[in-house]
């Protein structure tokens, strides 16, 4: 497991460097936001799957995780479509 943890840590460090580098490239608004959010999602997934051991949990823990994810999306997406962008 220790090797896996260190690999994940390496990936997190590279992704952090990548997202900062991209932010200095002055991309247009939509690609810049999409890329930053995508990188954050990948980093969060890595932390959840390996450091929080979600990958090795049963259906109940997955259920709690996806329920909170679902309601977070409900909080943000419908209103964003309505008044954002």
């Amino acid at each position: 497991m220790v090797k896996t943890y260190l690999t994940v840590f390496g990936a997190l460090a590279v992704l952090t460097a990548l997202t900062v580098t991209v932010s200095y490239m002055h991309l247009p608004r939509v690609p810049a936001i999409s890329l930053a959010v995508l990188i954050a999602l990948v980093k969060a997934s890595l932390i959840t799957a390996f450091f929080m051991h979600l990958k090795f949990e049963g259906r109940l823990i997955y259920g709690i995780f996806f329920a909170s994810l679902f309601f977070f999306i409900v909080l943000i997406v419908p209103v964003l479509i309505d008044i954002g962008f």
């Binding site: 460090a13 991209v22 390996f50 450091f51 823990i61 909080l75 964003l80 008044i83």
Partner: protein, 193 residues
């Protein structure tokens, strides 16, 4: 010895783990409410002025991101060390985790002082309000994690957390990783985009 048993129940998951995951789900909604208000106001409000990028202190925030992901990996290495009975490396990894937590707060305080001296305060603009509310709430969670982690370290050194009963290291870790994940989202949302 006075140890707390992880009582199995009908779910087959220790109560503590189930409780922590439910707690984290409620935390998602706490941060989710604030983050969604920020995103929606920022994209939807014509009055949402952004301070110039140089004032945001991106290098300091990048450093803080590295500090927090390093503390996350040292937390999970502390858990692995405890599971394998390597108590002295458990102690070292926990000390590193706690030290990095303090480093994060130190850098954050420096950023706060810098921002306030540049005129970005909680009342100066919509951005300022969200910046201080979001990072302030996150910093409170870091302080909570430091307390939880210090407790776990003390219990580990007393032998009340041991290779047969390492659950509380895992629970403290789950919480600490969650705090890390919140920062993973706050960093691009507040500094990079």
């Amino acid at each position: 010895m006075n140890t707390i048993e992880a009582v199995p129940n009908q779910t087959g998951i220790p109560n503590g783990k189930l409780g922590i995951w439910f707690f984290l789900a409620s935390e998602v909604m706490l941060f989710g409410g604030l983050i969604s208000s920020y995103v929606i106001l920022r994209t939807g409000s014509p009055n949402f002025g952004l301070p110039p990028r140089e004032l945001l202190g991106v290098p300091w925030a990048t450093l803080n991101t590295f500090v927090l992901i390093t503390s996350s990996v040292s937390m999970v290495l502390a858990l692995a060390a405890m599971q394998e009975g390597r108590i002295s490396s458990f102690r070292n990894y926990m000390l590193l985790t706690i030290g990095l937590g303090f480093a994060f707060l130190g850098i954050k305080s420096y950023e706060y002082i810098h921002k306030i001296s540049e005129g970005i305060t909680i009342t100066s603009s919509l951005f300022g309000s969200f910046y201080f509310a979001l990072t302030g709430l996150h910093a409170l969670h870091v302080i909570g994690g430091l307390i939880f982690n210090s407790y776990v370290l003390a219990e580990g050194l007393k032998g009340r957390i041991n290779p047969d009963h390492y659950e509380r290291v895992e629970y403290a870790g789950l919480y600490w990783h969650f705090v890390d994940i919140v920062w993973v989202f706050l960093f691009p949302l507040l500094y990079l985009i």
